[in-house]
């Protein structure tokens, strides 16, 4: 049986640190990583890593180059699952994943301890699975399955 292929993608900073906390859960899968760092020191040289453009609500003009970068990864690597810890690049990837017919998973940042992020709320309508790291924030579309700490 062929392994499934995971695309694990996030924004830098806390989003990426949390995504890296999930690495042990990827051991049974082929995995491709993507973030904005030119080199991801958390990964080994053997890991398959792509650099994507950074974007936030304050730099939305870069959206098209970020989209084209992510589309290239999706076409080349053909992941079967996308998992992201946010933020906006993750949301864009979830949307593109839906268009490509790929299973999508959103894990909202543990920083959002009192309410789900704006991106997370949108992701809860787009992603196949949407999770919060705070049990008290779980609801119909957003479930709790554990936390990174």
């Amino acid at each position: 049986m062929s392994k499934n292929k995971v695309l694990a993608l996030s924004s830098p900073g806390g989003h990426w640190v949390q995504l890296c906390r999930l690495i042990p859960a990827f051991k049974a899968s082929d995995v491709v990583y993507a973030c904005t760092y030119s080199k991801a020191s958390e990964l080994s040289d053997d890991d398959n890593y792509y650099v994507i453009g950074d974007i936030s609500r304050d730099s939305i003009q870069r959206v098209f180059s970020v989209i084209s970068g992510i589309v290239k990864i999706l076409k080349k690597e053909k992941p079967t699952v996308i998992i992201t810890t946010g933020a906006l690049p993750g949301l864009i990837t979830i949307l593109l994943g839906r268009l490509f017919g790929i299973k999508t998973v959103w894990l909202d940042s543990i920083a959002n301890s009192e309410k789900i992020s704006m991106s997370g709320k949108i992701a809860s309508y787009l992603a196949h699975n949407c999770f919060t790291q705070w049990e008290n924030l779980a609801g119909d579309r957003i479930k709790y399955i554990g936390r990174v700490i």
Binding site: H15, Q18, R57, Q133
Partner: protein, 159 residues
């Protein structure tokens, strides 16, 4: 060495200027290295970098005695992982320091975590910095909730 970090997305000059003031007022001999983002404040008493690549950041974080940071999860999780005390100063949306007040929520959520010290203004930060021997480090445990997350995510990816 004291490491100050505010992430790269939005500057946080209120924190940088307060730390800069403390260095001059306290007359500390300790080196202070600050990652300041796209800051417009020119620090007089610290070594500043706009951004630091992860590898270099890892070096600083291993070398420092403790960390002063905005209330960002990357900083908090990294400090716990390398077992360094971290003083967190949340950004406020009302002051244009972030898009929303999730850092205040983060600060409330981590206020009781070992090794994490929450300060909300200059006086509170100065009080902590003037008594650095009271800072102790936390730890990033593989908690039951973390193990549960890994199992759930692994199962989900296999489905």
């Amino acid at each position: 060495m004291i490491l100050v970090t505010v992430g790269t997305q939005i500057p946080f000059d209120r924190l940088i200027s307060i730390v800069d003031d403390w260095v001059s007022e306290s007359g500390t001999k300790q080196e202070v290295v600050a990652q300041v983002g796209s800051s417009v404040y020119s620090a007089k008493n610290m070594t500043v970098f706009q951004s630091v690549e992860p590898e270099q950041f890892e070096q600083y974080i291993n070398d420092c005695d403790f960390i002063i940071s905005h209330a960002g999860m990357g900083s908090i999780l990294t400090a716990l992982r390398v077992k360094k005390p971290i003083v967190i100063f949340p950004r406020k949306a009302a002051l244009g320091e972030h898009r929303n007040d999730h850092q205040l929520a983060t600060a409330r959520s981590f206020a009781n975590t070992d090794g994490v010290y929450v300060v909300n203004d200059k006086e509170e930060l100065f009080a902590v910095l003037n008594n650095p021997s009271e800072l102790s480090s936390g730890v990033l445990n593989d908690s039951a909730e973390y193990k549960k997350l890994l199992i759930n995510v692994e199962n989900l990816l296999q489905q």
